[in-house]
């Protein structure tokens, strides 16, 4: 979008037009004069992408009610005027042939049949009331992958029923990393000041594969500025075009490399004394412990030469404080290993030694805006939930905002959980071993999934409730933090194509009514949105016009940040970690599973065109996967030669849990002894024809086990065997 003026012009037109979509994306070719002239009414609507959790701002253009194109919103801090491939692909979701179009109920033979909304709500409500009467609210739980409306409504719903059991997907995503950062800094994430940085080290994360447009732009700018960009990864990932160094490493040993860097900084007295003495607790204990973690010690574990580790440490010290170890996301220590939580703490420790916290070019902790209090008459407050969330006792380092969703799996198995709701979550396919999820959910009295498509989790449910797709619905405001603060909103750009689909707010209001707590949901999403926006000085009308509004609440300044830890300092030691039964001093934790002779490490990772498992069936994105054989298993050329495997050959991969066949991409881009499997494939829902049976699902191979302290899924603690399948 070139200007707000243009957009406003179009939006005035929108108000006067009742656009009705029929079927199919608008397929007219603009160069055909006759079609272009007959194109009719062109409308532009600001909204938010749902291709991943970034929720980038976009502007959707419709022609006579049909979606034509989407563009990145220029003022949105994540899209900055552009959208990635999956952004364009997921915008087409409304027209996907794999959609759910009406509520479904599982039949006695394991199939599904349509059911009316009224009957579905009534039956679910009766079962919930039965569970409440028999076992109490603690027997109910909800799992969601947060979205603007979903995170509000799912929490309000389960809390209204008296249960504290709300979980996000984080235990299979970024829980370990966020919890580790929290114990060290008090914040759950940090950013790198790419505009001013001299050196940045990525541990497993690839901005070029798990994309947020603004991150890629920032990194490209840093590269243009001559920054040294180091990728520590067993695989040469797609960010390599902007990087200066690739450090191939043994999976699960990033912690050894980082501790050895810390060792060099401490033993050679290259650390920031002022920061360490004034702003930290526990440095003496850390320094004493880290003395043993020499580069030579690390080399034996992580297989990065000691000289190279020392050189990296020296280069970082030279660049300090305008440098950082990047915070990462899921990648190598979001939820991957027994040591993921601790790896995140070591990342923070290195940044502390470099004195980079809050400095230009360093690691920045920024704030986020939030809504103020809304009218308690219209939007009544809930009674305080007395119960403690399941899993919080065993995994006290799980974040308050996420919990560990695997507590629900365990709760179904031991009978403490009897009713489970899923919103925008394909837990069965992606959060832990699918067979274990199915087994656990089969024991529950009630499983309800709310989704736009028949996911593997939907198949394991008693009821499946169809949400309308992203550009067909309004959602609550999304507050965006960082150096600047913003609020943006998802507006519907097209009319609902299937009248028997509902939006998140409508579905939860219906469920709440049926479960006897409808009094807490007696308002529309637009009413609540307007009330929330009023608390920050804007309105639905203003957002509808502008798409995004900057808020005056950001107060970022360079300089040592206020660490919101219990000690109000950066913590090299943590009492909470000690209380969880772990070493309070930041140090070394080994990975759990080691390959035996002849076995391989298995690592996963994203591809830029897909989000988790949810986008695999979308026609435009699936077509790219198939054209480029993107489902393949990556194998080092030297390993392939030893096994007699040629590019494109089929192999069988097997672990303690599962065996499956897949074709091989033979490459020089992966460390010998390591296999890489993209984590989007291996769909098993017969309702999703393009995803079903295409490639392998990595989680099938992973034993069910939880990381101590945080309860993450340890998604890469596995060793696998490979054999060539003769044609």
């Amino acid at each position: 979008m070139s200007s707000n003026t243009t957009r406003r012009g179009f939006l005035k037109g929108a108000a006067a037009t009742a656009a009705v979509a029929t079927a199919g994306i608008c397929a007219l070719a603009p160069w055909r004069h006759s079609e272009a002239e007959a194109a009719g009414n062109v409308v532009q609507t600001p909204s938010l992408c749902n291709g991943c959790s970034s929720k980038c701002g976009l502007v959707a253009t419709t022609v006579d009610g049909k979606l034509k194109t989407v563009e990145g919103m220029g003022d949105h801090p994540y899209s900055k005027g552009t959208l990635c491939g999956r952004g364009h692909g997921t915008a087409q979701w409304a027209y996907s042939d794999g959609r759910l179009t009406q509520p479904m109920k599982r039949t006695a033979d394991g199939g599904f049949e349509p059911i009316s909304w009224d009957a579905a709500f009534e039956e679910i409500g009766q079962t919930v009331k039965g569970i409440l009467a028999e076992s109490g609210p603690e027997a109910l739980a909800i799992i969601q992958d947060p979205r603007p409306s979903g995170k509000y409504y799912s929490k309000r719903f389960i809390n209204a029923l008296g249960s504290a059991n709300i979980y996000t997907h984080a235990a299979a995503c970024n829980l370990s990393k966020e919890s580790g950062i929290q114990q060290a800094t008090g914040a759950q994430n940090f950013s790198v000041d790419f505009g001013n940085t001299k050196m940045v080290v990525f541990i497993g994360r690839s901005y070029g594969d798990g994309i947020r447009p603004s991150s890629v732009k920032s990194l490209a700018q840093a590269a243009d500025n001559g920054a040294r960009i180091v990728l520590v990864d067993p695989r040469l990932n797609n960010t390599n075009v902007m990087a200066t160094d690739w450090v191939p490493i043994k999976p699960g040993f990033d912690i050894a490399l980082l501790l050895a860097i810390a060792n060099v900084l401490v033993t050679e007295d290259l650390y920031d004394h002022d920061f360490v003495e004034e702003s930290c607790v526990g440095f003496p204990e850390f320094a004493q412990q880290v003395a043993q973690y020499t580069p030579e010690w690390a080399e034996k574990l992580c297989d990065v030469p000691a000289d190279r580790i020392t050189e990296l440490a020296h280069a970082l010290a030279e660049a300090a404080p305008a440098c950082a170890i990047e915070s990462s996301w899921r990648a190598a220590f979001g939820c991957a290993y027994q040591n993921s939580f601790e790896t995140a703490r070591v990342v923070c420790a290195v940044n502390a030694l470099l004195g980079s916290w809050g400095q230009k070019g360093g690691a920045l902790i920024t704030s986020s805006p939030k809504t103020g209090e809304v009218d308690e008459v219209k939007f009544p407050k809930l009674p305080k939930v007395q119960a403690k969330r399941l899993g919080d006792t065993e995994y006290p380092l799980a974040l308050s905002g996420t919990g560990t969703n695997l507590a629900v799996l365990n709760g179904c198995n031991d009978g403490t959980v009897q009713g489970v709701f899923f919103y925008n979550s394909n837990a069965v396919q992606g959060y832990a071993q699918p067979a274990k999820w199915r087994e656990a959910l089969a024991k529950a009295k009630l499983v309800v999934t709310i989704d736009v498509q028949m996911s593997e989790t939907a198949l394991a449910s008693h009821y499946v409730l169809p949400e309308c797709t992203v550009l067909e619905r309004m959602e609550l405001p999304e507050f965006i933090g960082g150096k600047k603060h913003y609020v943006a909103m998802r507006f519907p750009a097209i009319e609902r194509i299937y009248p028997d689909t509902k939006s998140c707010d409508e579905i939860f209001a219906g469920l709440a009514q049926a479960c006897g707590v409808g009094q807490y949901f007696d308002f529309t999403v637009e009413e609540l949105a307007d009330a929330q926006l009023a608390t920050v000085g804007t309105s639905v009308a203003e957002l509808r016009e502008k798409g995004i509004v900057e808020l005056p609440t950001a107060k970022f300044e360079y300089g040592t940040p206020a660490f919101k830890t219990p000690t109000e300092k950066f913590q090299f030691t943590s009492q909470a970690v000690a209380d969880a039964g772990l070493n309070p001093v930041i140090g070394y934790v080994p990975r759990l599973v080691e390959p035996a002779e002849g076995e391989f490490y298995l690592v996963g990772g994203k591809q830029s065109i897909h989000s988790h498992t949810m986008t695999l069936n979308l026609e435009a994105l699936n077509a790219i996967s198939r054209e480029h054989d993107m489902q393949r298993l990556w194998m080092a050329a030297s390993d392939a030669a030893a096994l007699g495997v040629a590019d494109g050959d089929t192999v069988e991969v097997s672990s303690s849990e599962h065996a499956g066949q897949v074709s091989v991409k033979v490459t020089e881009r992966v460390k010998p002894g390591v296999l890489f499997l993209p984590t989007h494939y291996g769909g098993s829902s017969q309702y999703q024809s393009r995803a079903n049976g295409y490639g392998l699902n990595m989680m099938d191979f992973i034993p069910l086990h939880l990381e101590p302290g945080v309860g993450s899924t340890m998604s890469q603690e596995v060793a696998v065997k490979v054999r060539k399948v003769e044609a």
């Binding site: 005027g81 901005y207 732009k217 390599n240 075009v241 191939p248």
Partner: protein, 178 residues
Amino acid sequence: MARYGMLINTKKCVGCFACRVACQMANGLQSDESFIHFKEEETGVYPNVHAEVVPVQCMHCENAPCQQVCPTHATYTTDSGVVLVDENKCIGCKYCMAACPYGVRIAIKETGVIEKCRFCWDGSEVGNPPRCVNTCISGARVFGDLDDPNSDISQEIAATNARPLASHLTDAKIYYVR
């Protein structure tokens, strides 16, 4: 009169396919029809390896080989150097597909016309910028007037020493930084 061209910097392209899907939507293509093709290149031996994604589309060649072989003159070049196809004249004989050294002309299933990138030509003018440039997340694509020494693209070509993919084949108007 402008002479339009494009620069693609593979040192910034992470292969996100935004250009492909945005192009498909804007130009009404099916999911398996794409004006933009992607070549994945891997050079070197572990651990000294470089990988890049090279997006390839119609190069809008001077004296375009596809135009020269077209028996019905359906393929033509505008005054601004954009190579286009008149779908009313195209008989779908595919000579152009055979003649194109870059392999970027495709048959549109619905019409049988052998199509390709048109720099988002809307009937009278190029897209400003074309969709692939507009959505490129890393700024790897630059579009503009090659004859204007002050245009962004001319400046960028000079600064990066960008060159056509295969200057021995044709005189192309897409320049690459590799």
